[in-house]
């Protein structure tokens, strides 16, 4: 008997979602197969890789990155432009660290101004993230969505607590894209998509952020959650789970011991920068391997490696 390829045919299809506008807009999703399985069916758009920047000077970042960004890190618009020109990511993620009520507590108006300057400085798509404070995120997103009207940004994220405000401003009033954030659970992910749908946000305007952790820190739950979401979306044609997935890898990988231990704390471990890049690459690759359609990373080396990998797998 000759060898016969084992092919998995699914009924369902992941929605294709466009972020940004013009020539540099990106499309994510669109596949009829589980991640990277070109031999099964149309594997959709190749995973997209974005770079993280922040609205305030990144005090906590490693020295080499502060050095790389030293002329621009105090000005988010200049920083974004620099990233677009020098690093060429698929998109930029602007994180509003400065809006944290336990930190600088910047006003929604200030944040909106920064977002507007950034989006106008670049031609690649912009993803906008808050601080994980759901109340404050809703407040700043309300203003930012208006300020970046017409730019088709993605907002990270709408949660169970604030989806009404975020969904209404990002998804309905200004026709941006809504990132639906849940915590590592297929049912919670589904429920939030349903709630957004009931609010009137179109499925095609939603991407999911189903949670994140660094490899070694409960990452297995992420793998299984994404596996189950994809099997339900494709195999059972579950429309409420057919949104593409975006994972902000850098939000988690730069806070674990492997990435923050100084060389004098862990002399045998070697270069802190190399460790941090390694954790970032490994986490991003692994989540792409199960189904993330876009990931956010911090280090240019991670970006370069992941772009190389995904282009080889396309």
């Amino acid at each position: 008997m000759p060898f016969k390829m084992s092919v998995q045919d699914f009924k369902g299809k992941i929605n294709e979602v466009e972020i940004g506008k013009g020539e540099k807009a990106i499309k994510i999703g669109g596949q009829k197969a589980t991640a990277l399985y070109h031999f099964d069916n149309d594997a959709g758009n190749a995973p997209k890789i974005g770079i993280e920047i922040t609205d305030i000077y990144p005090e906590e970042w490693i020295a080499s990155l502060k050095e790389l960004y030293k002329d621009v890190a105090n000005d988010p618009a200049a920083w974004a432009k620099f990233v677009e020109e020098k690093l060429e990511p698929d998109f930029i993620c602007l994180r509003f660290e400065g809006s944290d009520p336990n930190g600088l507590d910047k006003s929604p108006e200030e944040c909106a101004e920064v977002a507007k300057a950034v989006v106008e400085a670049i031609s690649i798509p912009l993803v906008i993230a808050g601080t994980q404070n759901h109340d404050k995120d809703a407040k700043i997103f309300e203003k930012i969505t208006a300020a970046v009207d017409g730019h088709n940004c993605l907002f990270l994220a709408a949660t169970e607590e604030n989806y009404k405000t975020v969904g209404a401003s990002a998804g309905l009033a200004y026709k941006h894209k809504v990132g639906a954030e849940s915590s590592v659970d297929i049912n919670l992910a589904k429920q939030l998509n349903v709630l957004l749908d009931q609010l009137g946000v179109k499925n095609e305007d939603i991407t999911m952020h189903i949670g994140c952790s660094a490899v070694g820190y409960g990452f297995e739950y992420l793998i299984s959650t994404v596996d189950r979401i994809r099997l339900a979306a494709l195999g059972q044609n579950d429309k409420t789970l057919q949104m593409p997935i975006i994972t902000p890898v850098s939000f988690e990988t730069w806070t674990v011991k492997e990435s923050i231990a100084e060389e004098e704390d862990a002399p045998e471990w070697g270069s802190r920068e190399e460790r941090a890049i390694s954790i970032e690459i490994s986490t991003a690759t692994s989540i792409i391997a199960v189904g993330a359609d876009a990931v956010i990373v911090r280090h240019p080396k991670s970006l370069e490696t992941l772009k190389n990998l995904t282009s080889q797998l396309a």
């Binding site: 060898f3 990277l36 070694g216 990452f219 923050i260 471990w269 490994s282 490696t305 797998l313």
Partner: protein, 455 residues
């Protein structure tokens, strides 16, 4: 493939002698088919019938042992494609590549790195398990290389990569007691290769151009009655290699076709082209998707810390979070003056926290209430790690008798519990610890200093 009762019945002697404890051979066969009894309960089965049965009831993917003593490992034996269905059982193993083209310094440096990267994470030893030793062109150098690895004193299993049967024969003499994997059987040399490894039942690695050729090769080798196999996934691109690894696993488990029912070998080193970040990406891809042996160019902590942790995660039981027993534990010789530190009963959390406390050398009591086996924030969000349950545990665990200290240190991530705990435990001073466990040593040393300064 599952056998029916009738299939099994056909293989019994049909004596109905009841020695198995069942009234008839058929009744016995039905029971065996449903898993209610074992075929060994019939003392009259012929060896041929037993062999047929064990083959038919063997799992679709072979579990293969290699290496010896402390360095014996099992790979393969997986039963599912996705880990939420059932645990992945045999973790992939990492190899580092040596060839006869390497300079003495390069060999020594790899050996030193293998020696250096050897640590414990959550109770599991993390190290390179296999020395992949490849013959390229210089016979004498190759034999010397093998000797050098053996004499280096590293504790490791071997995979000899060689397509030249004569060279391999001599090379095998050097590691014949180590039960090495032999990689390099092709469509041109497989007969000689099989006869070389058959007596010792060494795992034989097959290498072919594409899946069809590999499939045919397995068929031929199986035709020689040899079934201790590992399958090469080699291809010129990451994309093809990925396809090969997935197809091998899927053909075995989904199509139940035993021709591909074997573990695989992935040469991440070759695909990465000396780009070590790329190697991390490729190796991660194959840890998640079906590489059984993953060959790396070299090892260092940057690589190991992510690849070994990822592997540890992927191969945990999805149904049961690893837990530690709720209780109070003394660390670093805690006594009647030591403070109390609270954490959760999730094994990952406990081992990380305990490791850092040990590093601090400061004696403390660790109090672990029942938190459902969850991480700090998960347990808190699930309502299983709140002021109520913590204070109840502190009151009932008897910790107040074990130590006179009334300092209670909380994980920084649940600083919000401070006020409530102060109300519930008025005798205790509630101290907010660090968010990250790695800062515990510094934190505890400072705490100790202030205590001593006050004393």
């Amino acid at each position: 493939m599952a056998l029916t009762g009738l299939d099994i019945f056909k293989l019994t002697p049909k004596k109905n002698c009841k020695d198995c404890g069942f009234p008839t051979c058929l009744a016995f066969s039905m029971k065996v088919a449903s898993g209610g009894s074992e075929i060994e309960k019939c003392p009259h089965m012929s060896p041929e019938a037993l062999e047929k049965l064990s083959e038919a009831t063997a799992p679709p993917m072979k579990a293969l042992k290699f290496g010896k003593g402390d360095n014996e490992y099992t790979i393969g034996g997986e039963t599912v494609l996705f880990r939420h269905e059932k645990t992945f059982v045999n973790r992939n193993r990492f190899a580092v590549m040596f060839t006869d083209q390497l300079s003495e310094e390069a060999i020594q440096s790899k050996l030193d790195n293998i020696k250096k990267v050897n640590y414990v994470r959550i109770g599991e030893t993390m190290k390179v398990e296999i020395a992949a030793i490849k013959y390229v062109s210089d016979k004498e150098k190759y034999f010397n290389l093998i000797k050098k690895v053996k004499e280096s004193g590293i504790s490791i299993a071997y995979m000899l990569i060689c397509e030249d049967v004569d060279v391999l024969k001599e090379a095998l003499e050097l590691v014949k007691d180590e039960k090495p994997i032999v990689y390099g059987a092709t469509k041109d040399n497989y007969e000689a290769m099989v006869s070389l490894v058959k007596d010792q039942k060494l795992p034989l690695g097959l290498k072919a151009d594409g899946l069809e050729e590999l499939y045919n090769l397995v068929e031929k080798v199986q035709g020689l009655d040899y079934k201790e196999l590992v399958l090469g996934t080699e291809a010129s691109s990451v994309k093809e290699t990925f396809k090969n690894a997935v197809q091998i696993r899927r053909t075995a488990l989904k199509e139940q076709d035993r021709k591909f029912g074997y573990p695989s070998v992935v040469f991440a080193n070759e695909l990465a082209n000396n780009d070590s970040n790329m190697e991390i990406a490729i190796a991660s891809l194959f840890v998640v998707k079906y590489g059984s042996i993953i060959v790396l160019e070299d090892i260092d902590y940057a690589k190991a810390l992510s690849l070994f942790s990822l592997r540890q995660n992927v191969f945990t039981d999805p149904q049961r979070p690893m837990r530690v027993e709720p209780d109070i534990y003394p660390i670093n010789g805690a006594d009647e003056n030591s403070p109390v530190l609270v954490t959760v009963d999730f094994a990952l959390t406990y081992f990380i926290v305990a490791g850092e406390i040990e590093r601090s050398k400061v004696p403390v009591w660790v109090a672990i209430p029942d938190a459902g086996g969850y991480s700090v924030l998960t347990a808190w969000a699930a309502g299983k790690f709140g002021a109520g349950s913590i204070s109840k545990f502190i009151k009932e665990s008897g910790i107040a008798e074990k130590t006179k200290s009334r300092k209670l240190i909380l994980p920084g991530l649940v600083a919000v519990l401070k006020g409530e705990l102060e109300d519930e435990l008025p005798e205790w001073e509630i101290i907010i610890g660090t968010e990250e466990a790695m800062h515990i040593p510094k934190f505890l040393k400072q705490l100790n200093n202030t205590v001593e300064a006050n004393a």
